[in-house]
């Protein structure tokens, strides 16, 4: 059984790798055809640029700033979403207040927030603000759905055995909302990084991936721009994977089977 899944995962990895390889090949052919490294450098050159960036110590400083912004936004969004989720699930008035508000925030184009934030805040704070606004509805709706989907029969059981309020929250509500929360969080991670970087590009704080992308664009340095883009993709992927790994670890009971 184990060997079979191993084989399957090997085949899957091979599939992904060959897909990436084909895309790189197409990129290479187009760059050869254009024959203009300013407009489109070859994948080898872009990769060399990434490697060059990675060995430059200044790079990590820029990267760290973006990561810190994303994580700060994420943590603040998570805290706010927990309060909003708890209030909305337990108090109807709060639900009627927050539901349209979060719905509107979710549907607003990121650029509107950025333009407003540029007027309201200094440029250093814009990306974090954008990150919070992007992630907040995703995480909040996750928590609200989770609480609403809690099994009523289990709650009735706990009530008839007089299980304490704190234990009901800890052992029934929280485990049932975890899958919903994690779904919201991994969505938030996916959208959040993009929002942070767009925020950086437009508000140009002193350090950050977005600020360097803007610089590269100003100097028509396409290979560096692509290099930063690859870093941005990697960042998003890294944190989404982290969230998913944490989920698997917390929900080991789901993976057991008879």
């Amino acid at each position: 059984m184990l060997r079979l899944t191993d084989k399957k995962s090997v085949r899957e990895t091979a599939g992904y790798l060959s897909g990436i390889l084909v895309l790189l090949l197409i990129w290479h052919v187009i760059s050869l055809w254009l024959d203009n490294p300013v407009i489109l450098p070859s994948p080898a050159k872009a990769l060399a640029e990434v490697v060059r960036m990675f060995i430059h110590p200044g790079f990590y400083r820029e990267w760290l700033f973006t990561i810190m912004r994303g994580l700060t936004g994420f943590l603040i969004a998570l805290m706010l979403a927990s309060c909003i989720g708890l209030l909305s699930a337990t108090w109807r008035a709060a639900w009627f207040l927050f539901n349209p508000l979060l719905g509107a925030v979710r549907s607003t184009p990121v650029i509107s927030f950025i333009l407003l934030a540029l007027i309201w805040f200094g440029s250093e704070n814009v990306p974090v603000f954008i990150a919070i606004l992007t992630m907040l509805p995703l995480i909040s709706f996750g928590i609200i759905d989770g609480i609403r989907n809690t099994d009523r029969e289990l709650l009735e059981m706990a009530h008839s055995f007089r299980v304490g309020r704190w234990n009901v929250i800890r052992h029934i509500y929280i485990p049932s909302l975890l899958p919903f929360l994690f779904n919201g969080m991994s969505n938030a991670m996916g959208f959040g990084w993009r929002a942070v970087i767009i925020g950086e590009v437009l508000s140009q704080p002193f350090r950050g991936i977005g600020s360097r992308m803007r610089d590269a664009q100003n100097y028509l340095n396409v290979s560096e721009l692509i290099g930063w883009t690859l870093v941005a993709i990697l960042t998003g992927y890294l944190f989404e994977t982290l969230v998913r790994k944490a989920e698997q670890k917390l929900m080991r009971w789901k993976s057991v089977s008879s």
Binding site: E153, L154, E156, M157, A158, H159, S160, F161, R162, V163, G164, N167, H171, I172, P175, M251, W253, K254, V256, S257, S258
Partner: protein
Amino acid sequence: MNTLISLENISKAFGSLVIFKDFSAEFPVNKVSCILGPSGCGKTTLLRILNGSLLPDEGMVKGMDGRVPAYVFQEPRLLPWRTVKENLLLVLEGKMLRHQAEKLVNEYLYLVDLTEFAGFYPAQLSGGMKQRVSLARAFCYPSDLILMDEPFTGLDIRLRQNLIRSFQRIWEIHPRTVIFVTHNLEEALQMGQYLYVLSAAPARLLLASENIPGNQSWLKEQVRTLIDLSSPDQP
């Protein structure tokens, strides 16, 4: 100490649906009482009134003396993210010291033959095993009253017999007041020391009798003439 738990002149209606009207019954302490009736006659409502989770519109429950009954539901109702042992410990938490709870849980898991499965998650158990965990949870709960709401419904005959044996084995070692609700006559005769037959709603007590081996065939005959269990939806 009361020797009876009694319902006195209970009335309960949900909107225009009258479930009980001036209903009275008495259940002896430390015996297994089986309530038999067609489905929809208010058996679950009766248990919920005894449990205190539902208040009657009129009348009162006597002899409970503030005790909290343990409950065996129709479904096992186990937390899927906690092991068998952790599921039992959850209902004991705050009611006794941790090591006492552990000891009690181990004892009852042994009585339902699930010692080796203490560390398993509910998803790893069969339906019958899950219901045995639910049985152990009710018996290890510090209460001398256990309410059972058709806990063997949906299981095949062999599993049902298995569970009834598990039940009898625990009960003989640790007798409690058990009020057991069912619409299965064989089950009621096998389990109950006292038998109560309810009519369709609004429920009336059609028969209350001790169940002793000598009068079983008489009881069977009586029940068959009193209610029609084969087509429970008909009034």
